[in-house]
Symmetry: C2
Subunit: 444 residues, 2 copies
Amino acid sequence: MRVLIKDIKNKEGESVELKGWVDVRRDHGKLIFIDLRDRSGVCQVIFLPSSAAYEAAKELRSEWVVRLNGKVNRRPKGMENPKIESGEFEVAVDELTVLSRAEEIPFDPASDISLETFLDWQPFALRTEKNRNIFKIQAEIVRAFRDFLISKDFTEVQVPKIVAQATEGGANVFKIDYFENKAYLAQSPQFYKQIMVGVFERVFTIGNAYRAEEHSTTRHLNEYTSMDLEFGFINDHTDVMALENELLVYVFNHLSKNCAKEFEFFGVELPKIPEAIPSLKLKDAQKILKEKYGLDLLNEPDLDPQGERLICQYAKENFDSDFIFITHYPTEKRPFYTFPDPTNPDFTRSFDLLFKGIEITTGGQRIHDYQMLVDNIKKWKINPAHFDFYLQAFKYGMPPEGGLAIGLERITQKLLNLDNIREVTLFPRDMNRIDILLSTLKNG
Amino acid sequence: MRVLIKDIKNKEGESVELKGWVDVRRDHGKLIFIDLRDRSGVCQVIFLPSSAAYEAAKELRSEWVVRLNGKVNRRPKGMENPKIESGEFEVAVDELTVLSRAEEIPFDPASDISLETFLDWQPFALRTEKNRNIFKIQAEIVRAFRDFLISKDFTEVQVPKIVAQATEGGANVFKIDYFENKAYLAQSPQFYKQIMVGVFERVFTIGNAYRAEEHSTTRHLNEYTSMDLEFGFINDHTDVMALENELLVYVFNHLSKNCAKEFEFFGVELPKIPEAIPSLKLKDAQKILKEKYGLDLLNEPDLDPQGERLICQYAKENFDSDFIFITHYPTEKRPFYTFPDPTNPDFTRSFDLLFKGIEITTGGQRIHDYQMLVDNIKKWKINPAHFDFYLQAFKYGMPPEGGLAIGLERITQKLLNLDNIREVTLFPRDMNRIDILLSTLKNG
């Protein structure tokens, strides 16, 4: 019966079976030491020259996969390894079975390799504590997002990624050969989650979203994971912001309970989330940027990256918050379904949530009135006939509703203060790469 | 403060605020009755001629969205509606606010409409108890799948759907214009989940999968939801089958606890899952089909639909099981990564799980040995260079591993005994339809 490495601390003096990978091998005189790695952690195992397994152990190299039996001993005083969970113990091996050999590893995956090398070698290079920590944290973010929303009566829905129309701007969309037709990869689940408000009132969906943008930045991906929610019977966008506030408190509490070790690895503290995240209208944020920082974006419809960084600095200094909502983006710069502010219809009941200098959420109230939506589609110079299917949801009674989308990779990146979004993405897709460099593919 | 309809039974004599949709409106003499629907259920509300809301209530029609205040009363004896949760109570309305009007509905969505009509009108037609029940059950299947696997130390991963190579047969794959290159929609997360076994040992992922097959059957979709898992340190495919057995017991227990009402609606009983689902080698299943049912598939590499139905009938009659594993499919008919049976390498350590006459899972042990995998790729006449990235995972030490994929829509369909997989799919994609009929798109 296999014992996980994290549990050997409860097995002192007992014989155990371990399975895992050779993480590192060290020879000290006649003794062979191995750090064995499994999904639960790392521990030291030792082969004495007197052991029946000693000869076979001489062959072992990094990444070989083994099963072994041995006795759990307390390490000699002063020889403990406080960095690992079972560091006061080691296993003296009696029996060794090699389950799988490995070729000589091309580099130490835990060493300081370039991002390009990491991406070229991801199937191998992901096998480090750093990467296990990143993607463990990401899995726990997803889990907490879901658990919170289920506790709030939201229903999870599975929605299509193949769509017949580009939903939010026709340019940045990937085309698919769909039998005799052209189809597109969905830029977001927007239309479907709105439709489903008519069915379940409260829905969420987690899945891939696509942007065919020709950018190569540290914060954009062409395929990313969007965590979306949408719900009805709101008063305005502030209900959506309040829900996100509560959601983030839940997620971060979950992370602090379940990923303390992982955050410690990065030397990162989880940000405190205020009970009420500060909020500024875009216009007011722009005024502050001009007055406090001399950055003039007064005539812009948005904040630029520098503006986002500075307004986050402002939130940190003035509200002790790593988060700030920016609201009331101009109507002409938001999608046609965005609800205009009745007090000034040039601006919308929309918001972005900025976190450590970057937008991690876009959300707002949507137009729920059928005629208002049709009129807006026309104003945007789109043919409403293209949206007949979507419009049914509004034609037959939709409550005031709104929602938001959180970019999973972005929030992970900023939480861990990592430089490039590709570091927190399993197999990132960009203009140059689908697993391998596309240029290699062309030549090959 | 809004009260949900399911909670009015605890509010007798109190004033409550309700929000929801007009489900049905009935006039009885001077009284106006409305069935109000929210995410929690349906209840009767009543407008007396003496109520201030009476005049406004005259206007109300199906699917209008309202907020109302009124008093919860016990219905007169003999007037209870036992079919609904709060059927012993009704709300006498004092105040009514119309939040959203609806156009006259084109048909009663709960009536017996054709599948084509349902699909044309899905945003509206999904608003029935039947459909809420279907997609509630589906959400709970996903939730239970995930909860079970997390409890077994599996880590959820997000993997790409844009791929550079067709993984499992080049013909049935959708092509994408990917900047200057061609890319494809993933037929499954197979390669990525296998790679991630090297990182986490145990992983699962839930997401869309794509088959560009030109079929139009009641059980195929071109875009479906695949619930995938993969794990290391197995002995053979029977470990994967045992895990699936345990998983299904968990999922069905979860459903019986959380969806009793929904199953009752369909008049369906949850199938019993045996402690050990019966299992037959394909060859033995074929012999039984010949001997018992006169169906000769002895020289076929698979069961045909009729064979699947009959062998399920056999399992029901002989083992009292709605499930049966069929194992040891021929090597030549399984993907190159399938582990051959060492005792007879013409057959594989693979399995399908059949449920009520249809395959809902494919799984098995995979080849974890690098050289064996490379040799097999060559045997399949594929260029191993195309798989360099994937192969890294095996070059650098992979334990014996296996996994499976469950089709979410198929298991939902069979659980509910529904005729067509499109009935259990939000916005199904097939050769003829992406929301609307593609022929309409062409002409429009």
